[in-house]
């Protein structure tokens, strides 16, 4: 308590009630710019000492201006007032100067306002310009879009052209392979000697064409799937015929298998692969809109077609291995051909409907020939 000094402070009426309720208060000492001491703890006295020191005596000189004026110092205050009034005069003078300045400034302000108004006009004009720019922008963008659209159309047309050119190439390659097969088939039919290299080249080209062009174009949907599929089905039969001839030729010559045979056979496995089958299924089911069962039937037919080719190749391979020589094979082939020819003659001579001749009628004869020829080995 020794550090505390009694000081009377005038407070607003509203604060009196609060001061009665609280024992302690805090005073914050401030100057105009900064705070001197954050919070000074004060004790509120219920019966303030009448001899309490004047604030000015207690507070440091720097904070005196903050001290409230006491009634006892009225004269002092008056003196100050006089002093302040002179200050006030100065202030008013300054103010009048300021007012003249202000008038001047006001004039400037009016001018500025005019300018602002002008600027506002300008702003409206700019907005208009902006609008015009927007409209122009839209037109420009529209033009650009039209240009892009035109460009896309041109590109589309070019793509279609390229696609057509590419399709023409595929088609021409297909026709070329068909023609080559026809010439090879004629030689086979006429029992002319077939060059193994010729057959090898045909198989190699066919294999590459079917795998790389047709199968891939089905997977990538480059060309119409139906057309590609019909090309595959046409070529695969021809491919099988030549492959059998090639295998026969090589086997009877070397009694082994050609190095490329595995690759040639792999075409059939590729056509049965789930990737290829799924690709066709997706086309039929998702793109062509067939129902699942219809798509399944189409897929099954496709699988059967490829499998039939494989079965025939395997049958011929078994036959080759059983007969072992070209001569025996040729003999059996002659017998079979003769039986078939005889059958055809019978059908032609008699009415087929009346006789109801069936291919199964001549099968025992063929089997008998086969056994006879194979027993020779």
């Amino acid at each position: 308590m020794s550090n505390y000094v009694d000081v009377a402070i005038k407070v607003p009426k509203e604060a009196v009630e609060l001061l009665n309720d609280f024992k302690n208060a805090e005073i914050v000492l401030r100057n105009t710019k900064k705070r001197y001491l954050p919070f000074i703890d004060c004790i509120i006295l219920q019966n303030p000492d009448l001899d309490a020191k004047k604030v000015n005596d207690v507070l440091s000189p720097s904070t005196k201006s903050l001290a409230p004026k006491k009634t006892e110092d009225a004269i002092h205050v008056m003196k100050n007032l006089v002093k302040h009034s002179s200050d006030l005069e100065n202030t008013v003078k300054n103010l009048s100067d300021n007012i003249s300045d202000f008038t001047l400034n006001f004039e400037n302000l009016v001018d500025s306002m005019k300018l602002v108004n002008k600027l506002q006009f300008l702003n409206v004009a700019l907005n208009g310009l902006n609008l015009a720019a927007t409209v122009a922008g839209i037109i420009i963008i529209e033009n650009k879009l039209n240009q892009i659209d035109q460009r896309i159309k041109e590109l589309d047309a070019k793509i279609v052209q390229l696609k057509d050119i590419e399709f023409d190439k595929v088609q021409s390659e297909f026709h070329s392979l068909v023609m080559r097969f026809n010439s090879l088939a004629t030689k086979i039919k006429d029992h002319d000697t077939l060059s193994r290299d010729e057959m090898d080249a045909y198989l190699r080209n066919s294999n590459t064409f079917i795998k790389d062009r047709l199968v891939n174009s089905i997977k990538n949907r480059t060309f119409e799937v139906d057309t590609m599929l019909s090309m595959i089905n046409a070529l695969i039969t021809a491919y099988k015929v030549i492959l059998i001839e090639f295998k026969k030729d090589y086997y009877f010559d070397k009694h082994g298998t050609h190095g490329n045979e595995r690759t040639y056979m792999s075409l059939f496995y590729d056509l049965q692969s789930s990737e290829f089958i799924n690709s066709i299924h997706d086309y039929l089911f998702l793109e062509k809109g067939l129902h699942a069962n219809e798509a399944t039937i189409a897929i099954t037919i496709q699988k059967i077609l490829v499998n039939e080719q494989l079965i025939e190749i395997y049958d011929q391979m078994t036959l080759m291995k059983d007969l072992n020589t070209k001569e025996k094979y040729a003999k059996l082939e002659n017998i079979v051909n003769e039986s078939l020819r005889q059958y055809a003659v019978n059908v032609a001579e008699n009415n087929a409907e009346e006789n109801e001749v069936d291919i199964s009628d001549i099968l025992p004869a063929i089997n008998k020939s086969y056994k006879m020829v194979s027993s020779l080995s």
Binding site: N278, A292, N293
Partner: protein, 227 residues
């Protein structure tokens, strides 16, 4: 007119298909005396009529089963449990399924469409359900095996017994509504519902019927049917 002529499906079933079908769904009907061997086509028809009357969702004005009930049921399972890699083959099939559901909602679907939907549903759940059942992490499907197998009937039965919980993650991501799709009748009356045992049985029975029909069309029952 309902999209699915359930009674017609039963009628057209071969013996083999019906035997397989009745074996799979007999337990769903609460028979106290009848044995599965004694179950006939006519009994199945009766059960289907009862089932439709009591448990499925009606267009009140037409007093008939709504076209899209079954399709929406499958759509709910596909939405809730199947996640596909974008651009993958499976996602194309899922899109096809959604397309069929939409067609069904518009009342333009036929029985073949619903069989296609069932095939897609079975193909996808075949991949998804075992992982779900074994509480393994769900995997996005990129490819599907679209062919139906004899074991798929057991898968459907297994799914019928399973207590499906809608994956929270899918709800949070807004991929699925907690309440399954709303069914709109042709009169635009919204028939809302929540998943229940009845709807599960309904889905199961109809999916088995369509599955057996598809298998019959694929020639799976040809030998059994002659027996």
């Amino acid at each position: 007119m309902p999209a699915i002529d359930y009674l017609g499906i039963v009628e057209e079933m071969s013996n083999g298909a019906f035997q397989h079908c009745s074996k799979m769904i007999f337990d769903c009907f609460d028979y106290k005396v009848m044995k599965q061997e004694e179950f006939r086509k006519v009994d199945l028809k009766e059960q289907l009529l009862e089932f439709q009357k009591d448990h499925t969702y009606y267009d009140k004005k037409k007093n008939d089963i709504t076209d899209s009930t079954y399709a929406n049921e499958l759509g709910f399972y596909l939405d809730a449990y199947v996640k596909c890699n974008e651009g993958g083959r499976a996602s194309k099939y899922l899109m096809k399924a959604q397309q069929i559901i939409k067609t069904t909602e518009e009342g333009n679907a036929n029985i073949e469409d619903l069989i296609d939907l069932t095939r897609i549903y079975v193909s996808m759940m075949r991949e998804v359900f075992p992982r779900m059942k074994n509480k393994r992490k769900r995997r996005s499907l990129s490819d599907i095996d679209f062919t139906l197998h004899m074991e798929d009937a057991c898968l459907l039965k297994d799914m019928n017994k399973y207590d499906f919980k809608i994956p929270q993650s899918r709800i949070e991501k807004g991929l699925i509504n907690v309440v399954p799709r709303q069914i709109r009748s042709e009169t635009k009356e919204i028939l809302t519902r929540s998943k229940s045992e009845d709807s599960k049985y309904f889905t199961y029975i109809i999916s088995i019927l369509l599955y057996c029909r598809a298998m019959q069309a694929d020639g799976e029952y040809s030998l059994e049917g002659e027996q």
